[in-house]
Symmetry: C2
Subunit: 292 residues, 2 copies
């Protein structure tokens, strides 16, 4: 099955719980709206890719891990879009959750998705390989909580001074690193620490890509830091290195990610997958800057 | 050690993670503010009480379970107090989290506490009795998530029509039932289903007490449903039964809770504890209505 279809199917299955007897129907709709249609599904694709490279022996657990990672990502987007944060009206080409369902259900759908991630891990681990629950709960919760997960990363924006490397590593890098580690853990790798680096590097590459998208939004000002980052006085790789330099930096991070893939049955295939998926990070109108 | 002191010590220890290297300091303060000073700590006291009645053999795991239950409760209060829900300026006699730290950190401290609950369970189970992690994650996550946990309960308020029993059971009852089940699970009881009823009944009693507090806020109008529930057109046990009737209903639920305590080493002591703790539910100015 196509990895994207596999992930979307697993997500639909995870969300079935929201339709169970006694569940409030609008919350179910808001949670679904937060998860579908997806963006690139980069993180869960990484989880599945790593699990397959490690010869996954419990595909249902891979799916659960991929769902947990993606639902945490979606939860963070719903909360980030709230009026008190980015006040974003649009997300993935459709109105944001709070625009459609109101702020209360946006807060609750984020909460619900965070909790659902653990419910799914617990349900599936219990009927597949119970001893893999603990590493998966640890990987996923640390990537989202304090001190170095998404929540902590987002909270840096409320500090008088931002420690920028920690901020980006927590807000973006942590879940990519968790995506690769969770794939390995779901496939039974006992020491997943070597799987941190490939995910973390891809996360850094994604952050550079985000900076590129930020300036690529307006073709007239391409190469000048005039987007959201500039407006919010946030550091931006394009401001630092220029467009070409930032694209080179992105490609070098992707190479580092590929090179750091630990020995495993499908290492070569996974390296190719990382290079291929990362190309999608670069905004189309900047593709000319990317050397083949 | 006094149970309250034991719980507060465990909570302080759980929150230590928020001070780790790289953690944003204001988020740490906001999370602490959400948890201290506590209210009655009824739920974690139940967890500890049940675990002791079941001859706890892993006190650190009891503490972790009690912390998880209480931190989930605190998270729900912080999110409930947000301007888009109850817009509450005060909580437990001090300004609410969003009043002191702003809405972004209030949203994030709720998220952080939800995740911290799982981090603490995972950390402690791993070094005590790993096979108890799965039941504890299941009990705690189901009590907070969909379809029947706090998040679902709160979401009923956004529906055009509230299914009132499901609403109260999810919003209040679920975490009390989880408190007793988690205490049993932490102490190694394999089938905790019989521990649902005592917690659920105490939760119902607490709900009636909440209704009593709602009307007792104004002595002039005692016995008339003129508080928040009336203003929000929410059903209220006092409106249904009057003050005396509601107090009788509360006491009868407490008796049902005590009677449903399953056989265990400390059953009698636990029954006494349930009766004693529940007396604190009744607002002082209504104490005269409570028959000894």
């Amino acid at each position: 099955m196509d990895p994207r279809a596999r992930i979307d199917l697993a997500l639909e299955k995870a969300l079935e719980r929201t339709h169970a007897l006694g569940s409030p129907p609008l919350l179910a709709k808001a949670m679904h709206h937060a998860v579908f249609p997806g963006g690139g599904r980069f993180r869960p694709r990484l989880t599945v890719g790593v699990a397959m490279a490690c010869r996954e022996d419990a595909p249902a657990l891979t799916d659960a891990a991929a769902c947990a990672i993606e639902m945490m990502h979606c939860a963070s987007l719903v909360h980030d879009d709230l009026p008190c944060f980015d006040d974003a009206d649009l997300r993935r080409g459709q109105p944001s959750v709070h625009k459609v369902y109101g702020e209360p259900l946006a807060v609750l759908s984020g909460d619900g998705l965070i909790v659902l991630s653990f419910q799914v891990l617990c349900d599936v681990a219990s009927v597949t390989v119970p001893q893999r629950l603990a590493p998966l709960v640890r990987i996923v919760s640390d990537a989202v909580g304090v001190p170095n997960g998404i929540t902590a990363g987002q909270a840096w924006e409320s500090e008088p001074e931002i420690e920028i490397n920690g901020y980006q590593a927590a807000k973006t890098g942590s879940l990519f690193a968790a995506a690769t580690m969770a794939g390995a853990a779901a496939a039974g790798v006992e020491d997943v620490s070597a799987w941190w680096t490939p995910g973390a590097r891809i996360g850094e590459a994604y952050q550079v890509a985000d900076d590129l998208r930020d300036v690529a939004e307006d073709a007239e000002t391409l190469g000048k830091p005039v987007g959201q980052d500039a407006a919010n006085n946030r550091p931006n790789a394009v401001a630092q290195f220029g467009v070409e330099g930032a694209v080179r930096r992105l490609q070098s991070l992707v190479e580092e990610a590929a090179a750091s893939v630990p020995d495993c049955a499908g290492a070569e295939h996974l390296r190719a997958l990382i290079r291929q998926e990362s190309k999608k990070f670069i905004p189309r109108r900047l593709a000319a800057f990317a050397a083949e």
